[in-house]
Structures are given as C-alpha cells and as structure tokens.
C-alpha cells in the first residue's frame, strides 16, 4: 500500500462536516475534530481546501466561504451542501442493527433516546418492521452482567454441552458478551484455575459470594471469545456429503477440501468427545470418519449406548 491518504474517506468527511457547520455556525474546531474523529490539524487542512471549491466559473461569489475566528468555524455559500448525503444501505443497516441489538439487551430503556433515534431512522429509511435484530435474553444474563460490573465472584452451576456434564464452579465474571447468536461469560474459573468461557444459556444457577476480585488487564478480551482449537486438541478428518456442507460452514476447521463428487473432506479440532458424538449422530450416513482410527468407532459406540435404552428389557 502506498502511504498517500485515500481520497475517499476525506471526501466523505468533507461532505459530512460542511452540512454540520452550516447547521451549527460558530462551532469550535475542537468539537468538530472530536465529532468527526480527526486531529485539528487534519481538520484545518480540510477547511483550507474548501475556499478553492464551489461552482463554475469559480469567481469569488461562487466559491465556498470559510471563516475561522478564535477557534470557531463558519461556512457560507455552500447551499448545495446544506444537507448531508443520504445514508448508504450498509450505513443505515449498520446503525439500525447496532441500535436494535443494544435495545434488545435486557435492561435497556425501551423508550429512551436510543429508541427514539431508531424510530426516526426507521422512518427515514422506510425500515419500520423490516429489520429485526434479536440478541435475545437469557435467564441469568442480568445477574451475570451486574456481577461483572461490580466485580463480584460467583458460584455457578454449569452444564457443559461439549462434555455432557453438570458442574459447580467458582468464577470471577470478567465480561458478558454476545457473539454468534449466544451470550458468553468470560471468567477466571477457580475450578480449572484458568480462563474459561461459559455460555450464559447453559448456566443453570447463580449464587453470590459477596467476595470481590480484581479485573486483570485485558481480561476477557472479546477477541478470545471464539473457540480456537488448541494445538493439543485431537484432529478428526471427516468426509461429509454435499447435503451436509453446513458442517463446513458452521464450525471452525483446520482445512476443508471439496472433492470431485461434491462431498467435502474437513479436518476439525475436537476438544470434547461428546461434541463429536452429537455431530456424527445427527449426520448419520452423511458423514464418515476417515481418521484417526480411534475416532472411527465413536458414532457406532454412542449409537449403541443410546439404543440400549430402546431395548425391550430396558423398559
């Protein structure tokens, strides 16, 4: 990449800040810089450009007039930039989606300024009822958010889906975060004596301890939220039928290769056996384990365990 600044972002900024100054004559340079996320020096460069701009034939009465007096700004002769540029679909969607997501978090004010702002945007974008963003609530969400905000240590009952077991743990709740359609609790888990991430919808019980903890610097960084294969996790190679391509789409994988017959060969890191069992049971004959040898019998073994319940003697 060349070091020269891109013209697009600067033009975008100029077209946004001119209407703002026209509507707020006398606004200070400092406030403008903050609102439009630029340094004052850069802002001044933008403003110095404007007096060269205007309409043909670029005589004094056709050029944009900019006054900077005592750190305040006024602009004249730019009626055609009086109103800002329309939002692009992506911008409108981003604002509405972010706002709707935040508004759907339990505890947010359904009638506050965010709600009224979204209502106005809905009107302008003709989007009323046409965009729904549901990040959903979860039973213990507010309790966990409160504990994280107050750095209070908790005892939780947790159902580990991957391992298919129920445990009780003491945790320092660092952060509560929504991603990929679920709420997560990032913690220091005293049982594991390590950082652990929990899905809030699998927390079955929460008890306060009255003890407090200190949030470590960078603790529970959002970037760590996704399951990332650890080097020591076993790798399993699956051959997946074309109809089950969602496996490739849905899970982080080491590699995926489309084969001549439309099927896929995908290498997954599998940290917990129950997870692999469930995946294979639900795929049935749409997946075969190619390796390692130890994983080949996993599905059949799990199927036998379940079938035992269905045998006449079991009832």
């Amino acid at each position: 990449m060349s070091p020269r600044p891109l013209v697009g972002p600067r033009l975008r900024r100029v077209l946004a800040l001119v209407p703002y100054v026209l509507a707020h004559p006398g606004v200070t340079l400092a406030e403008l810089a903050e609102r439009f996320e630029v340094s004052e020096a850069e802002l001044e460069r933008d403003l110095e450009l404007l007096p060269l701009c205007g309409l043909p034939p670029y005589t004094a009465d056709r050029l944009i007039d900019v006054w900077i007096v005592d750190g305040t700004v006024q602009i004249r002769l730019a009626e055609y930039f009086e109103r800002p540029l329309r939002l692009t679909p992506a911008e409108g969607l981003a604002l509405l989606a972010a706002g709707r997501a935040l508004l759907s978090v339990p505890g947010s004010d359904a009638h506050g300024p965010l709600a009224t702002a979204l209502d106005k945007l809905d009107g302008v974008l003709d989007a009323r009822g046409r965009l729904a963003v549901d990040v959903g609530g979860s039973d213990h969400l507010e309790e966990l958010q409160r504990a994280a905000a107050e750095t209070e240590r908790l005892e939780i009952d947790y159902y580990s889906f991957a391992r298919d077991e129920m445990t009780t743990r003491t945790v320092d709740p660092w952060r509560v975060f929504h991603a990929f359609g679920a709420w997560y609790l990032a913690t220091w888990c005293h049982r594991a004596d390590a950082e652990r991430l929990f899905r809030v919808d699998r927390v079955r019980g929460v008890r306060r301890t009255g003890e407090h903890f200190e949030l470590p610097v960078g603790g529970g960084d959002a970037a760590d939220l996704v399951y990332r294969p650890r080097p020591e996790d076993p790798r399993v190679t699956l051959r997946v039928a074309p109809d089950a391509v969602w496996v490739v789409e849905s899970y982080p994988h080491e590699s995926a290769e489309k084969l001549g017959d439309g099927s896929w060969r995908v290498v997954l890191a599998v940290s917990e056996a129950a997870w692999l069992e469930r995946l294979l049971l639900s795929l049935g004959d749409e997946a075969t384990v190619e390796g390692p040898a130890a994983a080949r019998g996993v599905a059949a073994e799990a199927a036998r365990r379940i079938l035992a319940r269905y045998e006449p003697s079991a009832r």
Binding site: R35, P56, A101, L102, D285
Partner: protein, 312 residues
C-alpha cells in the same frame, strides 16, 4: 491528490446544482481543476472520479442526450442525494454513538453513517458487548427491501425469486424473509447459504403487506419449523438433563414428573430430522416414548449408524 479531492468536491457540487444533465465535454469545460485535454485520458479520469463518488454512495444518474450522435450526460438528482429531514437530538446521537461502540459490526459503516447524521456526540463505550457481523450481501438485501425490488438468487442449487419484506438476525444468522414467488408462500432464507450474487430487479416493483413484522417470518425454533405432518412426541428425559430441557421447551411442555427427577415432555413435531437431532443431542439421557413411528425412526437411524461402521 489535493487537486483530485478539490475536483471531486467541485464535481459533486456541479452535478448537484445543475438543472439538466451535463455531458463529459460540458463538465470538462466547467469543473476545476481541469480534466486532461487528451480525450482518452479525460474519459479515464472521469470514470475514476465517478467510481469514487459512487463508492461513497453518491447517486449519479446517467441520461442519454442528443438524438443521433447520442451522448451520455450526468447529474445528481437532489432528492436522491440529500438525507431526508431527520433532526436527531444530541441525546439521540449520543445513544447511537454508544450503540456503534457497544456493538461491534466489522466495518466502519456505523461510524460513517453517524458522521452524516451529525458525528460522534457524547461518549462511546470502550469495550464492545456484542458482535453483529454484517456482510455486504445483507446490506444488498436490506437495500432491496427498502427499494421494494424483487431479488433473484440461488439457494441450495435452486433459483429463488423473492419479494423481500425484511432482514432478520436471529441465533447469530441473518435471514432474508418475504414472499417466495415460485412457492407462492412466505419464506425465510439464511443469507450465508445463498450461493453467489443476489440480483435486484427494478425499484417499487411490489407493495409489501402493511404493518410487516419481519421477525415473525423466522420461526422461533427449528423444531417448530417444518412441513412434515404434525405429530405429538413424548420424550423421557433423565433428571440430570431435566432442567436444561425445561429451559428450552418451557414448563408447559412437562407432562409428567417421576420420583427420580426424570420428566416426560410433550412437543409437537413438524420437522422430523430437527426433532431427531434434538433428541440425539441429549445422548443416552433421553428416549422417545411415543408415538411408535418416531421411536422406530430413532431406532432405525441409530441402527444404521451401528451397521455403518466402526469397531465396537
């Protein structure tokens, strides 16, 4: 580079201010700093400028003028350019500022949009509390929804034509919902499963029903979303998983509580493969009790897996 920026501002102003569309020759005579004299270079330069403006979302319309030696002429229709009257209060701007910082969107469209509405007011938050991934395809579909343009796309190897009523984010996935023209029925499609591009038809091609609520097109649960002949299933769940299942299905699904803490739940099944996956997720902690056909279905499914392989 300052020259180019200056010309882009002037080009925008000129196209916005003109009453009639202007040809490239006319623009070259008017707009400063001047376009090159050389015609090929001029055209190239102008196309680049036009592209930059369009990337920012500036709507340049093209008209054909001049009968025989027909030529293209350009202008910006003010109604397409200007943001409709919105007047957000500073409290509302500040709330949107919090929203775009609290919800990570991947991409700077949120901030760019906010700049048009009056910039960043108040304080944002330092750490995002949610991530919502907006792909370009979702934005395209949202655009089609607002334009009331029909869309065509390929989904599971089948061409679909849809009158899109809305876009919905649920369970971490985006859906486009609307009226499927081939099936003549309401449908929801997962956006990440659309193959390739989406083609938009002309704007204002259909009138959506009044008071649309896009969210209602996406069913609450894959279990309750399907076209199989509905049957009622009864499932026995061990005590260790009972709480988990009640959370999922609601307490009204519990038909019986046993002394050992196990429960029997009753649920309607309209999607047999979703139901099967759901029961199998509980591994050996659950068992289909009735009806016999669903019980037999699970047994046959598991039997095939046992027969299909693997050492014991």
């Amino acid at each position: 580079m300052p020259d180019r920026l200056e010309r882009l501002v002037n080009l925008t102003a000129t196209l916005l201010d003109t009453r009639r569309a202007l040809t490239l020759d006319e623009l070259a005579e008017r707009v400063e700093p001047r376009y090159p004299e050389d015609l090929a270079a001029r055209r190239r330069q102008f196309e680049r400028d036009k592209e930059t403006l369009r990337e920012l979302g500036i709507p340049i319309s093209v008209e054909t003028v001049g009968g025989f030696g027909a030529e293209q002429a350009y202008r910006i229709n003010p109604d397409d350019y200007y943001l409709p009257e919105l007047t957000l209060t500073d409290a509302e701007l500040a709330a949107l500022h919090v929203a775009v910082t609290a919800v990570r969107l991947e991409g700077d469209e949120g901030r760019a949009g906010l700049a048009k509405l009056g910039g960043l007011a108040g304080e944002g938050v330092d750490e995002a509390m949610a991530a919502v991934a907006i792909t370009p395809l979702v934005a395209t579909l949202f655009d089609a929804v607002s334009r009331r343009a029909r869309v065509t796309f390929s989904y599971r190897d089948e061409e679909r034509r849809l009158e899109p009523y809305g876009v919905v984010l649920r369970w971490g996935h985006w859906y486009v919902v609307g009226h499927d023209l081939h099936r003549d029925a309401p449908r929801a499609f997962r956006v990440d499963r659309i193959d390739g591009e989406v083609t938009l038809g002309p704007a204002r091609a259909f009138e959506p029903p009044p008071d649309i609520d896009a969210a209602r097109f996406v069913r609450d649960d894959p279990l309750t979303y399907g076209e199989d002949h509905p049957v009622e299933a009864r499932v026995l769940v061990d005590a260790s998983r009972a709480g988990w299942v009640v959370d999922q299905l609601g307490v009204e699904a519990v038909a019986e509580r046993r002394d050992d803490g196990a429960i029997e739940v009753v649920l309607p099944v309209v999607n047999r493969s979703a139901f099967r996956s759901w029961v199998l997720e509980l591994l050996e902690h659950a068992e289909v009790v009735a009806p016999e056909e669903l019980r037999a279905d699970i047994v046959a499914w598991l039997g095939a897996i046992v027969a299909g392989g693997g050492a014991s």
